[in-house]
Symmetry: C2
């Protein structure tokens, strides 16, 4: 296990590279609802392997969101339709390492007699089950690992692979804002730009595709803001009816609330058409929103978590969540880092 | 003139570097209301010149905004108090080239028998009046030019200079989002990160220090949005009274409006306490907002420009600007890239 967790040593990396070099047919698998890191890393690795003359299939449980059209234009992201997988020698899991996260593909993938290679930057939650791994938990994005793999294989990246790597990086660093943005991240982004990536065009493709109704809806959502604990806690609750919030991108609401200096925790509550309330929680400090979300049956990370409060009205959900958050805020030792 | 506009040739750059090498006392001047590019470039050049054993004063007409505390902690940004300037051999104008933009310092600066050196990445609006210039209009930020100067002088950057350069770059590229974000920009950002800059800490220092009143004011500002030309033009006009907009960061309003897919041009008009209206114009396409701003006596870049419409009421300013913008939008050949 020592060579798999949390960062591979040179020998393990070398075995992973051998798996790529010596085999011919590759299946690149992503996690359910693949994000830009997953899709970008798949795109880049596919181009690298194809440049080596390999056969490559990308197959995910879900199709890419429309914002990733800029990648899907040049790369075929297959969607698993059930049944057997294409015959392949090596299945590469990119940006995750739990078989279950391939969704409906999991049984077919497990049944297939291929070698399993994990390329990831997350801390593996369980014991290694794969054949080989190329893991570095300090890497800001899986795409960065694909960049390293290409270099170690001595292969140049073409513009599509470069776009994949850049997409990976900006997805997982919040466009170079999060604390994982290191010198390698920016240097690789520079290199990819030199290879043809247009950062502003990519930004527009990923983030400037809001509908006309988004800013007015954003304004109405911000009008629902309430502060608690002197501003340390910001809460926005969005009712289903009356505010015409269909065009709203709630990620941007969360961003604006996080931009307030005093705010430590943001809770965004959205009444669901199916009943109940969806919580999105964000932390700017060591406050652990994952712990908060878990109390309501949710999950996530320390700084970003969510939950669905089934059967609660918006007012009930708000009351319970504010109470729980205030309690946690007043107990810094439990929630501190 | 040919060596000054728009980008210096090697001989002109060499003369500019000689001015820095052979003189002893430097006054680094910024423009009124200095932004992060100006302040960051001043900070970086000050450290470089000090490393050469020079005496350096930074003097601006206005103090840095509090968001630049992270720079001002280690660099003294002097504020012009009237009267004579410190005795100096060379005055360096960073991030601008019009003497008038030094505000109240202008007469004293003109009267002082120093050599005048312009370090800038803007298109000079008039004939050269300075002694030497180090100008590259393709450079994403003035801080990038200071980086080049340091390299050409053979000087390493210390962590404070690196923070200055990084601050310059992120200020003028909208945190690596604008179309001026090129490979050099990202490579220098990577280099500065290697020299000690913490991108996420800088982001928090610059952009996550909004007052509690910012999100509600943001919401009220967004309620003023009007679209024209089917959404290609977005206009927000902010009256002085009635909306309690003191806490508003208008840059974020501009960002949200640019995130709308159909929007090509954003005009933000703000009624001034001193009378008149301030325009901030942004373009997402080849539409040249600099050309638009110039028609109203303003300046800037193709994608970001501004002007002050003295004597106009908010309604008058809006009417004139919308008319001019619609006219330009319907004449793509003139405004196209």
């Amino acid at each position: 296990m020592s060579d798999s967790l949390p960062t591979n040593d040179a020998a393990a990396r070398s075995r992973a590279l051998d798996l790529l070099r010596t085999n011919q047919r590759f299946l690149l698998c992503g996690h359910v609802r693949p994000d830009g890191d997953c899709l970008g890393a798949q795109a880049a690795l596919a181009r690298v392997l194809e440049a080596l003359g390999k056969s490559v299939w990308i197959v995910n449980a879900d199709p890419p969101e429309p914002r990733y059209d800029i990648l899907a234009r040049d790369v075929r992201f297959g969607v698993y339709q059930g049944g057997e997988l294409p015959r392949h020698d090596v299945a590469v899991l990119l940006d995750f390492c739990e078989l279950s996260r391939t969704g409906e593909m999991a049984p077919a993938l497990a049944a297939h007699a291929s070698k399993k290679l994990v390329v990831d930057h997350h801390v593996p939650p369980g014991a290694p089950w794969w054949d080989e791994a190329y893991v570095d938990v300090r890497a800001s994005a899986t795409g960065l690992l694909v960049r390293r793999i290409a270099r170690e294989l001595g292969l140049p990246l073409d513009p599509v692979a470069a776009l994949g790597v850049f997409t990976s990086i900006v997805t997982d660093t919040g466009w170079f804002k999060y604390s994982n943005t290191d010198a390698e991240t920016l240097a690789v982004a520079a290199e990819m730009t030199g290879l043809g990536v247009d950062p502003s065009a990519l930004y527009a493709a990923l983030h400037q595709r809001q509908p006309l109704g988004h800013p007015p809806a954003f304004g109405r959502a911000l009008a629902r803001l309430e502060y608690h604990a002197g501003g340390r806690l910001a809460v926005v609750d969005l009712p289903l009816a009356g505010l015409d919030l269909g065009a709203l991108d709630t990620d941007e609401v969360l961003d604006v609330l996080r931009s307030v200096e005093k705010v430590e925790v943001v809770l965004l509550l959205r009444e669901l058409a199916t009943g109940g309330v969806k919580l999105s929680a964000r932390s700017k400090t060591d406050f652990d929103v994952h712990a908060l979300a878990r109390r309501f049956g949710g999950g996530g990370h320390r700084k970003a978590a969510g939950a669905t409060l089934a059967g609660a009205t918006l007012a009930q959900a708000r009351e319970r969540l504010v109470e729980a958050a205030l309690e946690a805020l007043s107990a810094p030792a439990k929630n501190g880092g």
